[in-house]
């Protein structure tokens, strides 16, 4: 559509600090980080910010209510010269609603034809990305570990306190829900008595079913005080107990010292090694 897209830099100390200073302390780490990222863009002189109001990404399911509130939160925080593009993305009834939302968003900026072409290209790019994530083979390691939790935490090296590299140093081969195709995760997620209505949680449970027989251990990462994750971690823990697979709950917050996380990861890997050898 002819726009130049600017993405905020990887999370760093300054970004998180902006977020911490702006938010009430009840907000989760991810929300605080998001607020900081918007400020980082604003500081670069960006005045048009794309922050969709994500209500639902799959029929019958919801995302975390914090996503829904983000555009309004940022409107209060950023200078009034900033315009926030916040289409409501709500696929609760049908996935087609997403297409409509995006087309409506694009129309003020380009012709209908150009917007539709852009949407198709975006879908294509999304598919290519998902396929390449599924095909990516993890670094080989002695201990096969499934890493679950919101991807905006575990894939963020700063927020997760370098989780990936610490685990790899300890000899872990890391598997994530990104390797599991959505159709597979969805099918396996049905193993529960009652369908889960948070998409992220449902995906975690599906990925767990996919991997549970093939890994030595499971780590579930959650931000402190996360409601959806409190369900996810209980469900995951129950399933792991049934299958006699070791599980570690890892809660992250704004601590900048890595000692606490390293202690837990190291002890967990020791446990897995001992179990394996005897």
């Amino acid at each position: 559509m002819g726009f130049r897209v600017v993405v905020s830099p990887p999370t760093n100390k300054q970004i998180l600090e902006w977020g911490l200073n702006a938010c009430v302390d009840g907000a989760c780490l991810a929300v605080k980080s998001m607020v900081g990222h918007s400020r980082a863009l604003s500081e670069q002189g960006i005045t048009l910010l794309f922050v969709p109001k994500i209500v639902s990404v799959a029929p019958g399911e919801y995302t975390c209510a914090n996503f829904l509130g983000l555009p309004d939160l940022l409107r209060q925080y950023l200078p009034s010269s900033t315009t926030i593009l916040a289409p409501t993305l709500d696929a609760r009834k049908s996935l087609g609603a997403l297409t409509q939302s995006y087309v409506r968003l694009g129309l003020p900026f380009a012709s209908r034809g150009a917007v539709k072409r852009a949407w198709r290209a975006a879908c294509q790019a999304q598919q290519t990305l998902e396929k390449s994530l599924q095909a990516t083979q993890p670094h080989r390691g002695r201990l096969r570990i499934l890493l679950l939790g919101p991807r905006y935490l575990i894939d963020d090296a700063y927020l997760s306190n370098n989780l990936y590299s610490h685990l790899q140093t300890l000899g872990a081969e890391l598997h994530t829900s990104a390797q599991v195709p959505e159709t597979v995760a969805r099918e396996l997620g049905k193993a529960l008595d009652k369908p889960l209505f948070w998409s992220d949680t449902r995906r975690s449970v599906g990925a767990l079913e996919h991997f549970i027989q093939r890994v030595d251990g499971v780590i579930n990462v959650a931000p402190f005080g996360c409601g959806a994750e409190s369900f996810a971690s209980a469900l995951i823990a129950r399933r792991c107990r049934e299958k006699k697979v070791a599980m570690l709950d890892l809660i992250v917050d704004e601590h900048t010292s890595e000692v606490g996380i390293i202690t837990r990861l190291e002890a967990f890997c020791d446990l897995l090694e001992r179990k394996k050898s005897g």
Binding site: A237, T263, L271
Partner: protein
């Protein structure tokens, strides 16, 4: 030198205390503790470590065959001593408990800033939990409250046992607990009832935080500094309806475990110890913290220098090792 006894050194550098243990090289760990020392860390781990080593040197009868460090200050202590193993306190605590009783199935450990629950089956750790992000309900808090009530910490537990009707204290958060306690004091409740209420709430808090969904089977060990508190012992036993066993050296189990792991590691690999020797206590150590400016992460780096020679640094997220303090 030949008259000296061969021992392994274990050091557990915690937030509140630093514990030293010497383990007889010829005996099994449970009865091999030939010397132990419990020092307050007082926020000065380097000085505390030196003090402990000085005490060992003064005795003049030990020959150290190998050394291990554990606890939240294990990296610093490990670098100073050039320790043979530097390992987390969960593994260390489990190793020590197993050497005392190979059957142990549950370990309750409450230290200065951490509380842990370790579940073992057939001599192997199968699950563990640590308190999440804050230090609520740990030794530091008991310490602080004992200070506020003007009760020596070693009398705290006994006082709790005198209570006939413990008051209910909010245990979720230390700030809540403290305001609840002050309020109950103002109302005129007896100190022993308040202290008992605090112990009960800490036990409740521990179990609901760490034990959720886990099966606590006997034998149950209670270790760490807080295990000295008879009030806590009683409330754990009453709540779980199971006997609570306190190991002989409950206060230094982390140090015992790490000394033992150091021995096992050296023996199984047939290696010579890299331990620097007790002379190290006459060295001058300088540790310095600063914020690295090389990238926007602005990591808080700590460097340690021995007699003007760079030893180690940590805290960087990029894993860079070395001297990057322009002013240093």
């Amino acid at each position: 030198m030949s008259g000296r006894k061969k021992v392994y050194l274990g050091v557990d550098v915690g937030s509140v205390s630093t514990n030293f243990v010497l383990l007889d090289a010829g005996r099994t760990a449970s009865d091999g503790v030939v010397w132990k020392k419990y020092l307050r860390t007082n926020g000065a781990p380097v000085e505390t470590l030196k003090k402990g080593l000085a005490a060992i040197e003064q005795e003049g009868k030990w020959e150290i065959q190998g050394a291990g460090t554990t606890g939240s200050g294990r990296a610093l202590a490990g670098a100073m001593l050039n320790a043979d193993v530097v390992k987390n306190e969960i593994t260390a605590h489990a190793a020590a408990a197993l050497s005392e009783n190979p059957e142990v199935a549950t370990i309750i450990e409450i230290g200065g800033q951490d509380s842990k629950l370790i579940i073992l089956r057939d001599g192997v750790v199968v699950d563990f939990a640590m308190n999440t992000v804050c230090a609520a309900g740990t030794g530091s808090f008991l310490d602080q409250q004992a200070g506020r009530l003007n009760i020596p910490i070693d009398r705290f537990g006994a006082l709790a046992l005198q209570s006939t009707s413990p008051v209910r204290i909010a245990g979720r958060c230390t700030v809540f607990a403290e305001s609840d306690m002050i309020h109950k004091q103002q109302l005129g409740h007896r100190t022993c009832d308040i202290v008992a209420g605090l112990c009960a709430s800490m036990v409740r808090n521990y179990l609901s935080n760490l034990a959720k969904g886990k099966e606590l089977k006997p034998p149950i060990f209670f270790q760490g500094g807080v295990a000295a508190n008879v009030g806590m012992q009683r409330f754990f036993a009453d709540t779980l309806r199971l006997p609570i066993l306190i190991p002989r050296h409950f206060d230094v189990m982390g140090a015992i475990g790490i000394a033992q792991i150091a021995r096992e590691t050296l023996e199984s690999q047939g290696k010579q110890s890299g331990f620097v020797g007790l002379d190290v206590l006459h060295s001058e150590f300088v540790n310095e913290g600063y914020v690295c400016q090389l990238c926007p992460n602005q990591c808080e780096i700590v460097e340690i220098w021995r007699d003007g020679v760079f030893l180690a640094s940590w805290g960087s997220r990029c894993g860079r090792q070395g001297q990057y303090n322009a002013s240093g």
